[in-house]
Symmetry: C2
């Protein structure tokens, strides 16, 4: 087929980590990845045909966490293995820890810092070997992230960018004339870093796709950029984040400070209040808001509370701006100072105290004689 | 007591509307206002002592709506009377109507456009007369708004401002030296109108009080201003609003356009999705975001969704900015284009079509011969 403009939306494919035995195993053996609808149907068939009562999930990112809940809800005993030192490596360990505790409370056997070495059939079950243990499951789910599917674009000569994704500019143009690309197959402009990153997210894919589409039919649209805003529901908890965490912020040249508080989602005198853990990251030098992370109950409006931070960051907010926002308040749903504002106030106070302490150590001291 | 600085926080008092018989009736007769904790205890005693099975509530603002739910939950048959043509006059009729329907579904007898003329004891009950009907209740609650309590400040010679509230500047200084005031007793700087209004809200009172406190002890703080952001839970619905509605915007010199959409709170394939009604108001000339109103289910993150708009307005956002925000997405809690973004897109499209149509009518037309 000939084209005037071509749009590439090949997405991403699941990473198959270097696990001995993995290449020889597939859905027929109860070993699954999750990418297409077909993968999901195959998994459901596997659960049924194998009369599965247990599952081992390799990878504790979003999909691993959501599948832990989903399979537990189906009555399976779930073992969740993660090679990094925490579940959900996109949030700080201080939030990942209570999230892992919640999984354990709900019956999931959680093992982080646990690298899977091999998978093999083992007496009607599947055996998953780490350096120290063998875990068993009727099925195994390998959900260890994705990589961009760039074969078509690369074969056509398109330049590749960050982490091998298709290189695009903010108009979603590839380096090939009249060829656009968007979604999980491309790298993504980050609004705070002013640089490209690989951040495959559905919300980003939609926005990029629209920009590519507008431009492909003769318009002029520019992708505003991602902040990496994310949320995930895991049983009764929701974790969410936006913007930069300490490490990335420091690498990008900021002087990050992260301050944590816990505050109720709504007034305690109204029934059902639950604590929200808030972590706010700002730049100590400029006071600029760099990021935020939240962990709280499903029902505590965590997802849209992170969006308050995401919106503010989009406008280059200072952390102390958050304190002055006229946010909604009604006792069943909030507080006169919302949890996000209490966190911002704590950040400002901490940053101020640190400045004063720093000034104090530079001041000549009277000698005690 | 002498003072260096004085802070006035006298709040507001309930309006007692001009209803014949009201002045001679009080808690002992089952007729109540709601202002202090004492008022609440008196109401509870009244319900118990009168073995109340029915209540008439005069006024369908926030308190009237919340008390309709609270008394229904206690098993009373509630009649809700409002003299204006809709419940919750702070939102557009298009949202007030489904809110009223929800009250009716939950057993509340709702009558708007119904002005109360008289209250009188009537055969062991209380009779509430309007122009056309007599409503009966074991108790009557008069919740018809508040007025600022300015007696102390006025006696001391402080100037009064909008709607008779204590006049303050954005540092919360009254016109009297060293005297500050904050909360429901003062008028409030509106961030979008750049003018003072009377908008007594708990969230505003807290922010103003902090500004007054900082300044009273020698600091220099400025009140950022209110957007009138509000939310209320009524049974299973939450209504919320921020910024300006058409009328106020037009009076303030804007060219407002309000566009309405309905979108699910989260992806329909994940159980429990509910519709959110969104109304977005923007300025047709500048594209500036002026306000938004939401109505949706409790649990649909309505309160913090309105805060996305409130945050954006604080930064002088254009409506189309909202489409580009990197908001969180996870199927149980949102969509790749959040409901607030779908509304912003609809607004931009409508404004664009109106501009094109206007341009079209100005264009000379070919005559059909």
């Amino acid at each position: 087929m000939a084209y005037d403009r071509l749009m590439i939306g090949t997405g991403a494919t699941p990473v198959r980590p270097p696990i001995a035995g993995l290449d020889g195993l597939g859905p027929a053996d109860g070993v699954h990845v999750l990418h297409t609808m077909g993968d999901t149907f195959a998994l459901l068939r596997s659960i049924e045909q194998r009369k599965a009562r247990s599952a081992v999930i390799v990878g504790a990112g979003y999909i691993g966490l959501e599948m832990s809940e989903a399979l537990t809800a189906r009555g399976l005993q779930v073992t969740l293995l993660e090679q990094l030192d925490q579940v959900m490596p996109t949030i700080d360990p201080e939030l990942a820890e209570p999230l892992a505790e919640h999984l354990v409370e709900r019956g999931v056997s959680v093992h982080h810092g646990t690298k899977v070495r091999a998978i093999a059939a083992d007496d009607g079950k599947l055996g998953v070997d780490t350096d120290t243990d063998r875990f068993h499951g009727d099925i195994v789910l390998v959900v260890a992230g994705v990589r961009p599917d760039v074969q078509l674009a690369a074969d056509a000569g398109a330049a590749l960018g960050v982490r091998g994704a298709i290189a695009v500019d903010r108009r979603m143009r590839t380096t090939l004339p009249d060829v656009y690309a968007a979604g999980d197959c491309v790298h993504t402009y980050h609004r705070l870093l002013d640089a490209d990153v690989y951040l495959p997210l559905g919300s980003t894919a939609h926005k990029q796709g629209r920009v590519a589409g507008i431009n492909a039919v003769g318009g002029d649209a520019v992708f505003a950029g991602s902040l990496g805003t994310q949320a995930v529901k895991v049983f009764d908890l929701v974790a969410a984040g936006t913007g930069l965490r300490d490490d990335t912020a420091r690498t990008a040249g900021f002087a990050p400070l992260t301050v944590a508080i816990t505050a109720d989602d709504h007034k305690a005198y109204y029934p059902g209040a639950t604590p929200i853990r808030v972590r706010v990251t700002g730049d100590r030098r400029s006071g600029r808001l760099l990021g935020a992370q939240l962990l709280g109950s499903h029902g505590a409006e965590i997802a849209k509370r992170i969006d308050i931070f995401a919106t503010a960051i989009s406008y280059g907010a200072a952390v102390h701006d958050i304190e002055h926002l006229d946010l909604s308040y009604t006792p069943p749903l909030g507080s006169p100072w919302d949890a996000v504002q209490i966190a911002a106030t704590a950040w400002t106070r901490t940053a101020h105290m640190m400045m004063e302490r720093a000034a104090d150590t530079r001041r000549p001291r009277a000698k005690v004689t």
